[in-house]
Subunit: 122 residues, 2 copies
């Protein structure tokens, strides 16, 4: 196993410190100024998922978002204005009560929509 490259460290650090899952292009927006190419970002994200260090967040929207694996169960807030996703702690009980019996549930995702603090005033 080879050590993580400088670029790989930067990508991983960005995802770890972010307020929520990031898409490849969001990572690129943050890092291309320091010379990181888009292909490198896609490669690092894919490698991260294969290595079990990252996982894909299943949110609405055209692009895959990534977050560090192994986080405690949480959900997401999606800002309709800036399209950013934010982590939300906690969950709600009673989901199995609305599940019809013919389905076998393996997971769930709750997405709250609205405006984030940066966009709510404007």
């Amino acid at each position: 196993m080879r050590a993580r490259s400088k670029q790989g460290k930067a990508i991983h650090a960005l995802l770890t410190e972010a307020d929520g899952p990031l898409s490849a292009s969001e990572v690129w927006r943050a890092l291309h100024a320091s010379g990181v190419g888009l292909a490198t970002i896609y490669r690092a994200l894919k490698r991260g998922v294969e290595a079990g260090e990252l996982c894909e967040a299943t949110l609405p929207g055209g692009q895959t978002r990534y977050e560090p694996a192994g986080r405690v169960h949480h959900h997401h807030f999606l800002c309709s204005a800036c399209e950013r996703a934010f982590d939300i702690e906690g969950c709600v009980p009673g989901l199995e009560r609305i599940l019809p019996p013919q389905f076998a549930m393996t997971g769930h995702e709750i997405v709250l929509f609205g405006s984030c603090s940066d966009c709510r005033d404007r």
Copy 2:
């Protein structure tokens, strides 16, 4: 205003009778045997949204799904095997309790994942 065409009626009927929101390609799979072209489906879906008769379901996945507008509040089940979406009646209370105060919530979506009845045995 012109009356709905034969094709438009078929598309609307399909969406109304479906178990959940359908994507353009799902509609096409159901109707191309009767000679309906893919472009017609995209045009009818877009027209339906503009006319307020249809709305887009905001679910994870690469394609937009459509359902008749004006349905009572409900959520969706997404089969991981066949990728079909199904309507689920009901909702759960307490979502506002997990919303951090810096966000302004305008809506929410709950997606349950798992296997539908057709896929759970295989």
